[in-house]
Amino acid sequence: MAYNYHKSQIYGSGKFDYVWVTNVTETQGFIDATTGATYVPAWTDDTVLLASFNNNINGGDITFSGESITNWLIYKKEDGNNTLTYVATVPSTQTSIIDYNVKNNTGYSYQVFAETPSFLSQPLITSESVTTSWWNWSLVGLETTSTDNFYYVDTDNVWKFDTELSSEALVQNVDRNTFEGFTKYPKVTKSDKNYITGGITALISNPVNGVYSDTVAMKNNFRDFVNNGEIKLLRDRKGSAWLVETMSNEFQLTDKSAEQITQLTFKFTQIGDSDEISAVERG
């Protein structure tokens, strides 16, 4: 039995090329391989401290080719699709993200790359594919960032609609005009217009352990959310997702219920393609 050490320190007067500590008793063969004059240590699973003094004195940073990791780059891949889709870039100190731009009933796997000022690593071992599965529509508020097509999720506005839900027809809006002339067939002009409009009716909240409740504050929050002018991510149960703007909303109280249950009906208009954006929780 012996005790752990939690502090490592080097003293002058001296020059240190590196300080490297592992949490095992390395073999003689391993040690012999490190004694070359130009040997450069690299981070291993057993490493607890590695300071290479590559322009800084950080002691836990993995380095390669003289540079430290600055960011993690996260990409995802839908099952059945070989294309990697960018998700986010996060600083090296961050070790997780929450990706909201995922569709229901869809499998995803993720790849994480380490980035230094000059290099990209090979991806970390790819995660196992996971398949989303939930039984609700959801409307997620997004916050614009300085990066095009990259949004932070407004975590105060992640609305799930599961109870007493009914969806209106999804109307595809296209642009076609027919011009009658003296020819056998008319001329039809068209544009690129192609968007979805629809509406959702549901209770504003959902039962928890069989008990339903909602509040005036919740209603007011949703009212502000509908009118905040920010882009929103709408997802259905089947596996579709759209970027939408909420166009209108109605609240209907159930007068005969003791809880004065609040039902809402909001209309939406698609304003973008969810495949072209990233939507993650702020780290």
Binding site: S13, F16, I98
Partner: protein
């Protein structure tokens, strides 16, 4: 009937007069009517014709909608850097192109018709009076007299006439003569050895026509196919360059440059391909993805690689190309040190330490490395949780024998953890250890491990849980020989034999060994029960 040609090219654009150019226009004509000849003119902006192709007969007549291509050779008299006008006359088979109407003036004869002065009437047109039409063999624009073959009778003054032509002339079309603009991508280093690279282009135009905008297009080359991965915005100022950050190793890319200059000339390069190769470490950790139904999202996590910010006491200097080209080192003076400490930094009792070290001061000796235990402070050891606490505080519950940590101000974690048998806990200045059941007081002090150097000897000293282990490695034995100096001479000095001296057994000769540690690098490997040093 022919109509004025359209889609004149060049139009508000540039041609290089030093090379042959093709001018063109579209023929406009009634169905069945053909253009059989043409004559193109180039004029300066004062209206002076400086070049004409002359009337050229088309080997194949052109119908409505077809394009007439006209070759303008070099040596036309145009000069690059100057602006010009061009037009073209298109000829048909019949004189059915109406030019003017008028009334015959006085003094006409059967072959000399007074048509009046007109800028529209030209020699070669036809004048029609009544049912007779005659070719105008000469027209005097000053007198208005047209010479024709003989009419059957002298046209009376006041008789209506019409003038027709077999050709029609286009509108004047403005263009510029400019030397050829060129656009190239400067040589791309291949392979590129980093994930970012700045591509540079060169645009030249000797008449000082600058660019309006440029765009770069980057392709990924996959199985010989060029897949566009990024197109820049239209960049309207600055150097013609583009930095892309995100090149992956072992990949092939292509890059293309597009540019439009202020005269509307579009230029683009061919695709330059290059490869990217750099050492890309394989990280052995894995990422995990978990569906978060509560958030209707997926949480992705990966094993953290700790970033333990070093802290310094005194000053330090980062050295480049030390101890070898491309390497970095840090230098500390005798009053400075650097340390790393955090709860995440756990060096277990069985460890391996690697150092590459060199002394920075002649004759220096002392501790060069140390790692030590840090006691875990407890704010309480009690049966009930303290009511006030700060984030990070810990307390030991003497009833549950568990440790609790404060996650939020005045809020303890809901579940406790069993203390570690490898840690020393400190409460009220007293050290405690976990005996498997609860925390008990101990006389053990915090563990330490040091490596020191003195006169060619490295020494490691480990003190942990009452065990003390010392290891030494001698890399240089200081030679002491009899010489004419007193014992304890400064070994940092140089000495020589004094030929006038006489032998004295009470004096020493000291070899100069103190610079040994300054002239070598030492690969030091320390373990709990071993110390190895390799000298370079």
């Amino acid at each position: 009937m022919l109509y004025k040609p359209s889609y004149m090219r060049p139009y508000l654009s540039d041609i290089d007069e030093t090379v042959s150019n093709t001018f063109s226009c579209n023929i406009n004509a009634d169905g069945g009517t053909t253009a059989t000849k043409y004559n193109a003119y180039i004029s300066d902006l004062n209206g002076n014709v400086i070049y004409s192709t002359g009337v050229q007969t088309l080997s194949t007549p052109l119908y409505n909608g077809q394009t007439l291509n006209i070759t303008i050779p070099t040596g036309t008299g145009m000069t690059n850097g100057t602006n010009y006008i061009w037009n073209v006359s298109i000829y048909g088979a019949n004189f059915d192109i109406w030019i003017a109407n008028g009334i015959v003036g006085t003094g006409s004869t059967t072959t000399s018709i007074n048509l009046g002065t007109s800028t529209l009437i030209k020699t070669g047109m036809y004048v029609k009076i009544g049912s007779e039409s005659k070719l105008i063999s000469d027209y005097n624009s000053t007198t208005g007299i047209a010479t024709t073959s003989a009419f059957s009778s002298v046209p009376a003054s006041g008789t209506d006439y019409s003038v027709y032509a077999t050709y029609i002339t286009s509108n004047d079309t403005y263009f510029r003569a400019r030397s050829q603009a060129t656009l190239t991508i400067n040589t791309v280093t291949s392979p590129i050895t980093a994930k970012n690279y700045t591509f540079e282009g060169t645009y030249t135009q000797t008449d000082n026509v600058s660019y309006k905008y440029f765009q770069w297009v980057l392709y990924s080359v996959v199985s010989g196919n060029y897949v566009e991965i990024e197109t820049t915005d239209k960049i309207t100022s600055g150097n013609v360059e583009y930095t892309f950050d995100g090149l992956t190793t072992s990949s092939t890319y292509g890059v293309k440059l597009i540019l439009e200059n202020q005269d509307g000339t579009d230029l683009q390069t061919s695709i330059s391909t290059f490869t990217v190769t750099y050492t890309s470490p394989e990280l052995s950790t894995a990422s995990t993805a978990v569906v978060n139904c509560d958030k209707t999202a997926i949480q992705v996590s990966w094993v953290p690689i700790p970033v333990n910010a070093g802290e310094s006491i005194g000053t330090y200097t980062i050295l480049t190309d030390t101890p070898f080209a491309g390497a970095y080192s840090v230098e500390l003076d005798s009053t400075s040190s650097i340390y790393w400490t955090s709860s995440n930094l756990i060096i277990p009792p069985e460890f391996t330490l690697f150092l590459n070290w060199q002394s920075a001061t002649l004759g220096w000796s002392g501790i060069l490395y140390e790692h030590s235990g840090v006691g875990i402070d407890l704010v309480a050891m009690s049966t009930v949780a303290p009511q006030t606490n700060n984030v990070g505080d810990r307390y030991f519950n003497t009833s549950t024998h568990l440790l609790y940590i404060c996650n939020q101000i005045n809020t303890w974690s809901s579940s406790g953890t069993t203390p570690s048998v490898n840690e020393i806990y400190v409460y009220n200045g007293q050290n405690y250890i976990y005996n498997g059941t609860t925390l008990v007081t101990t006389a053990y002090t915090l563990p330490t491990y040091t490596i020191s150097y003195n006169d060619g000897i490295f020494t490691s000293q480990l003190d942990n849980m009452g065990t003390s282990t010392t290891k030494t490695v001698t890399v240089s034995t200081i030679a002491k020989k009899w010489l004419l100096q007193a014992n304890g001479a400064d070994k940092g000095q140089d000495y020589r034999w004094d030929d006038t001296a006489t032998w004295n057994d009470t004096l020493y000769w000291t070899d100069r060994t103190t610079d040994y540690a300054n002239n070598h690098w030492f690969k030091i490997t320390g373990q709990s029960n071993a110390l190895q040093v390799v000298t370079h």
